[in-house]
Structure formats: structure tokens, C-alpha cells
Symmetry: C2
């Protein structure tokens, strides 16, 4: 077969796949952070269409034409056969990777950013406020707002703002207004800066600032880049495409592997496939989620009720969590440093349809460099965790002689992560053990939910 | 039509197109830097196959299968219709762009790097030595060497080595050994460092070091990323693909626009089209080469004999030149800061088949930002010069009402040039007038060639 399988623009999916229609047990409700009662998404913050999608039980939800048009700037994305990596590993396994790094922002994030900007515009919103850590989400939403003529305000965690100027400039090039958080632009920001002028910020603080901004401006909505159901829904264009691409060569994967931080990238790939497993059509399909050993939410966290955000203002969800006040060690895979996990991913894991593994960052970068030297693409540190497990599984096939088909979710490139590669290549990269004590402390602060 | 026109892997060209077969007058010879007599490429430095290609009169030269296989990692590259830009300009013109930024190195450079590494390997070479300025060429050849199991030594101009660490790390990730030039690794490097330990290097010095390295190691060849005929030949895969893509929608361009530094990127696009103009089939086809006002080789330089390199050790060629000792102002488009120009480009210009324009960098970045905000892709500063002229021509069409088809050669992304975007966005970008006096001085040092 060819090195990559491409689709035509006519083959881009025209609807998103909603796993909620096919779950054997429904998702647990969201609960209000104050009353603890079942709740919708906080209404003044989110577009109505997104709130509907969040709880919809429809199997397919039409992708608006305007969103489809913008998807065409980078979709369909290529599905590669990793011939060179297979050869280097001397494995009988066939390795395929679905590559989202071809989007202008360099990752899967624009798939949902464009949809969110579209609905915001349609519902009369003029402006979006959001937070960003390392900048992947911020750049995706900046790009999306530009396409729909929306203003975009990004609260970027101050330490990242200072240390990662390229992502900030990318957002500004796409017209966004970016401030270091905590900022003077919100009440909570001013309060924090007064208490501690040197505060370097956190994702929790940035979320609080973005929410306050959206609350206090009538024309402004808030926007989330992962975790919630509607974001995972939008990402299913990725998996639907991958399925079509594999069908063209008459392949169904034996193993699907991806990294999970909030869960949206890998959910986008796995949901259209896990449907077959739930339906009993593919009982042997193995789906492996990979997280960092430094933040092993699904592998080590309890399945319990916790706040989705650090500040305790977001809805409470039933999920695997390390505690909303847990601050993970500074691994380079910034996108995987989240205390919780998408409820859909957690639910599927609890029901036994998917499994999870945790990996250290040094062997992860070793795998990333092997991938770069064989396949050319330099992966972002987040999907590099998945590459580590792909290589492990391919080497198992070498031992057993099995010719398994492995599908890798390669969510983005590492052009803005080369500092991490330098640390690895020069032997200066540190690894982090699972911070058990810190997790215990954080788990002691879980909210009490009756029942 | 679709937003982008994709080809299948079967449609990747299987031969390179050699313009020399169709020139109405043959190219002038290369001349030996010492004897001034017609010469081949310096034999111990280049693979024999490349020297043959340099002077070949065959119209098509087969692309080796091994090279075709590697091309498939990023080829065929997409051809886009710039619907969003057209809409923003309110122009009746149709704008198409052929995008080479999807290669792992982010530009067109791997198209020739892979071919050069292949021939080097085939002829028993174990190692390639080369120079790089900002790092585009260095990363392409590092990647290519990795594919063929060759060692790669890159002499990187010291000031770039210090200021642009990401490109260096990219090369190292692909397994290359990179040193700041001048280095302790060559005689000329040691000599220069002894005279001036703080020397920040130049492309001329880096070339000299790489050549000395290749001369002094039996297993090592030297490699060039632009200017010479065989490099332009390899880049014709780009234009051949673009032609096929446009044929699919029954379009032949009225204007083709690209940037020129050494000339290889734009030659790759224009050569398969200029053939039709030479043959009289497309007399009205307009081909516009764009260079920086700070280094306006073709627009302001004389057509005369000059050394291809700064040190005066490379062959003497007939070309437009600002003098081999001319050091252009530090515009951000590092790839366009070359004193001379590919002989093929110069020859075609002299014969009246192509024209040239020079642009300032501030309006160039303005055009680049407009492109990024409409089409999503953040262009490298080099092709941004061509975007400036595309916008000018599209606006002329708006005035005249003409529905011209414009084809843009978009050679790469600007992920490693965001520092330049920041300067532009913050109003700190400087512009540079044509340095007339410095050019006069440099032109006084041209070599004397009889006849």
C-alpha cells in the first residue's frame, strides 16, 4: 500500500459522532459546584448549541457547512503507514498513524475551536475569552475566532507567557489579545497581584480570569479546549476519517493507542471505534490510553466526584482524579498535566472498554527521537507518550510473531517543544516519580457529594 | 472547486524536468576559480551523479525509486485555492498556492536533500558536510542523511547557532552533528578563531569549513542547498505536481509568483511552466520573481561573472550579482540574503522569460499577517515577499475587473520565525534601503574573466 492514505474533501465527515447514543449505561450527570444537584453547563458562559450537544443523545450531529468549509483548510488529515519505524523495529506489526499536526495551529485543537467560534458567532457573541497553559489551545481558538471575525482574549499562565513567547506570538499573529495571567484586566487578577506581585500564575487562575471576563461582558462567551462532552464530540471527525482510511485498505485495528491529558485528542480517534466494541462486533479490540507517570490520573486516581477546575467553580463530575488541588510535576507534556479526565473516557474505562498505562518522560523522549529519525515528523511531547507504547506493543509482536495492526493517534508536532528535545539529547532531562504524598493531600480535599 | 487539490501518491512525478533540454540558448559554462577556464563541479566534493545532472541535456531524469519512496512522506504536497484571501481582498482573481511547508523540515529543501543523500550513499560516501545559515538547509540535509544512514556534519554560522537554537536542536534530533562556525574542527576555523576569538561567523566562512571538511575526509561529500542546476532540477517535482493539480480543474496560470534567494524554490515551480512560454504555447504567461529590497540581486545587480561563494573558491558563474563580498543587511528572510542568483534563473531573466521585483520587509510582513489571518498558515518571511506581490496583483485585478489565475509558490512555514512576526506586530521592525554604496564596493572586486 501507499505510505499515506489520503481522502478527498468530499470524504470529510459531515456529522460528528456522539458516543452517548451508544453507551450501555448513561453518563453520570454534571453537578452544580454549590448545590451539588445535577446541572447543565453554566448558562451565561457557553453557547446554547454547545450545551445541547453536551447532553444530546442523538447518534450523529450535523457539522454546520461553515465549519466544514474551514475544516477543509487542513482536513482530511493524512493517515500514514509507518514503514520506516516498522523496519527499524524489525516487527511484523503494521503501524498506522493519524496525524493532526497539519492544522495551522499544529494539533487537533482547531477541530473544536472552529465549531465553538461558529456557534458563538451564530448566537450573537462578539468575543471569546479563554485560558491557555503552554499555548496549544490558545492558538487554536485565536485562529478560529479570526475566521469568524470574533475578538479573542487569551489569559496565558504567566510562567508560560514568559518562557514560551512563540506560542504567544502565534496567537497575536492570528489577531488575539494575549495577557499574562494573573493580569490587571480582572478583579481576581488584580487581587492576586496585590497579594503577590511576583505570582507566576496557574491554569486554575487563568480559568478564573477567563470566566470572570466572560461573566462580566454581555457580548463574551467562554470556551474550553478539552474534557467536556461537546469538545470530544467535535474531535470525532478524526476517528471517523481514520476509519474510512483504514477501510480503503481493508484494515481494522487490533490496538488503538493515544495519549490522554483532558482526553479530547484520543477520544476523537477512539470513539468511532469503541462503538464497535460496545456493540460486540470487535470484542478483541484493545484501546490503550497513555498518561505521564508524573500525572497518572486514570492508572492511579480513584473514580470519584471532583471539580473539573482547580478553583472549585466548575461543575463537579464523576471521573478519575488526583484531586483538583493537585499540581503535577513540570513534565514537558504540558497538555497532559490535568488532575482529572474527560468523563466519557473515565466512563468507558470503568465499563472495561479501554485500558490505561503511565509512562516516564525519559523513555518517552527516547521513543519520540526514534520516531523522528525514522518517520521524519518530530512529535509533540504529549503524543510521544503514545509512541512509547506503540513501540512496546510492536516489539511484543516481534517476540510473538503476531502481525497486529496498531493505530496511533498522533495529535501534533513538536516545533515549539524543541527545548525539551534539547534537554533529552544533552542528557539533562529529569524524570519524576508519581508524587504519591501530594496526591493524598489533594484527595483529602474532594467535594462531598451526597449519594 | 475544493479548497485544496490533492494528488495520489501514484501521481508524484517519477522524473525531474531538466530545463536545459529546452533552453533557446545554452547556459554559459561554469569557470574554474583559478584558471577561469570552463569547468565541471569540483570533483572530490560532489557525487558523480550530481555532476552529470549539472550539465545534462536530457529533458527528463528518472527519480530513483528510493528517493520516490521518501518523497511519499510529505509528497504530493497540497495546492490550495485561497478563497479566504480572495474574499478579504474582494478580488475577481483566483489565487492558488502550492504549499511545501508540509515536509518534516517545513520547506521545499528536503526535495533535493533526499536526492543528494541518496547519490552520496550510492557512491560509497559515509558522511556529508555542509553549511547552514538560519538552519533551513541544515535541517533538510540532516533529515535526509538520517534516512540513508549517513553521518551529517553541519557548520552553522555562529550568530545563528546562538540566536536560533530551535533549528539546531531540530538537526540534532535528526542525528546530525552541529558546530558553531568558525569552529575548532577545521584549519580555517582554528585560524580565524585565533585571529578573532569573538568572530560570529558568516555563510562564506561556514562554506569554507564544510568544503575543507569534505576535502580532508575521503568518505565525505559536500552538499549545496540552492543555486546550482542539479538542485533546481530536483525541485521541479513541485512545479510538475502544481501543473497536474491545476490541470484537474482545467486552469493554466496567468501569473506565477515566488521568492528568490538562491533561486531553487521558485525554479522548482516555474521551470515546468516556463517551458510552455519558451515553446511559444503560453506567450502571455507572466512569471514574477520577488527579492528583498535589501538584497535586490536581479533587479539592481549587473549580469556578469562572479564567484558563487563569498570566499572566492567556488566556480565562477555568469549571473546577476551584487558582488561576492557584499554582505546584505540583516533582513529576517535569511534565505534571500545571497549576493548572486541561480544561473538558470538569471539566464531566463536575461532572455526575457521572467521578470523580477524587489519588496521592503515591512509591507512584506503586513502581507504575511493578512495571509495568516485569512488562510491560517503562517508563512516564512521568504515566501512572504511573494505574497506581497500576489496581493498587489490581485488588487490590480480588482481595479481592472480581470479574473486572472495567480499561482503562488509558498515554500515554507514560519514556525521558527515568530520572533520576526513579534517585531512586526509590535511596530519594532526596521526596514533597510538598498545599500548602494556597499554594493559598489563589492562590485569593484569581481573576478576578471577573459572574453
Amino acid at each position: 500500500m501507499d505510505t499515506k492514505i489520503t481522502l478527498t474533501e468530499k470524504e470529510i465527515p459531515t456529522s460528528w459522532y456522539n458516543i452517548q447514543a451508544d453507551l450501555p449505561e448513561p453518563l453520570p450527570p454534571l453537578r452544580h459546584p454549590g448545590t451539588k444537584e445535577p446541572t447543565r453547563l453554566p448558562p451565561p458562559l457557553f453557547a446554547r448549541a454547545l450545551d445541547e450537544q453536551e447532553f444530546s443523545q442523538e447518534r450523529y450531529i450535523d457539522i454546520p457547512e461553515e465549519v466544514q468549509e474551514i475544516y477543509k483548510l487542513w482536513r482530511p488529515t493524512p493517515l500514514y503507514r509507518a514503514y520506516n519505524l516498522e523496519k527499524a523495529l524489525d516487527t511484523p506489526a503494521h503501524i498506522y498513524y493519524k496525524y493532526e499536526g497539519v492544522s495551522p495551529a499544529g494539533s487537533h485543537k482547531p477541530n473544536t475551536a472552529v465549531a465553538q467560534a461558529y456557534y458563538a458567532k451564530k448566537e450573537g457573541c462578539k468575543r471569546i475569552a479563554t485560558e491557555t497553559g503552554a499555548g496549544q489551545w490558545g492558538s487554536a481558538i485565536s485562529l478560529a475566532c479570526q475566521f469568524f471575525g470574533l475578538e479573542c482574549k487569551v489569559y496565558m499562565v504567566k510562567i508560560s507567557y514568559q518562557q514560551k513567547p512563540y506560542r504567544r506570538i502565534m496567537m497575536e499573529t492570528w489577531g488575539a489579545s494575549v495577557v499574562a495571567s494573573p493580569s490587571e484586566d480582572t478583579e481576581i487578577g488584580r487581587k492576586l497581584l496585590k497579594e503577590d506581585p511576583g505570582c507566576t500564575g496557574s491554569l486554575g487562575i487563568a480559568i478564573s480570569e477567563a470566566c470572570e471576563d466572560a461573566f462580566s461582558h454581555d457580548d463574551t462567551l467562554y470556551s474550553l479546549g478539552s474534557v467536556v462532552n461537546h469538545v470530544l464530540l467535535h474531535q470525532t471527525v478524526v476517528g471517523q476519517e481514520a476509519m474510512k482510511q483504514l477501510e480503503k485498505i481493508d484494515v481494522y485495528p487490533d490496538i488503538i493507542i493515544g495519549c490522554i491529558g483532558g482526553g479530547s485528542n484520543f477520544a476523537g480517534v477512539l470513539l468511532p471505534f469503541v462503538k464497535d466494541k460496545i456493540a460486540g462486533k470487535k470484542p478483541n479490540l484493545q484501546i490503550i490510553c497513555v498518561e505521564p507517570e508524573a500525572c497518572p490520573t486514570v492508572t492511579k486516581g480513584p473514580y470519584t466526584w471532583d471539580f473539573g477546575d482547580v478553583a472549585g467553580m466548575a461543575p463537579i463530575v464523576l471521573m478519575y482524579t488526583l484531586g483538583h488541588s493537585f499540581v503535577p510535576p513540570p513534565v514537558h507534556a504540558g497538555g497532559l498535566r490535568y488532575h482529572g479526565m474527560a468523563p466519557i473516557i473515565c466512563h468507558l474505562h470503568k465499563l472495561g472498554f479501554i485500558e490505561a498505562r503511565a509512562e516516564y518522560q525519559i523513555p518517552t523522549f527516547q521513543a519520540a527521537v526514534q520516531f523522528a529519525r525514522t518517520e521524519g515528523i518530530i512529535p509533540a511531547p504529549e503524543p510521544a507518550h503514545a509512541i512509547k507504547v506503540v513501540i512496546d506493543e510492536a516489539l511484543k509482536c516481534k517476540q510473538s510473531g503476531e502481525k497486529k495492526n496498531i493505530l496511533l493517534a498522533l495529535s501534533g508536532h513538536g516545533h515549539f517543544d524543541l527545548g525539551a528535545y534539547e534537554q533529552y539529547l544533552s542528557g539533562k532531562l529529569e524524570d519524576y516519580e508519581y508524587p504519591e504524598e501530594k496526591v493524598k493531600e489533594a484527595l483529602a480535599q474532594l467535594p462531598q457529594v451526597p449519594g
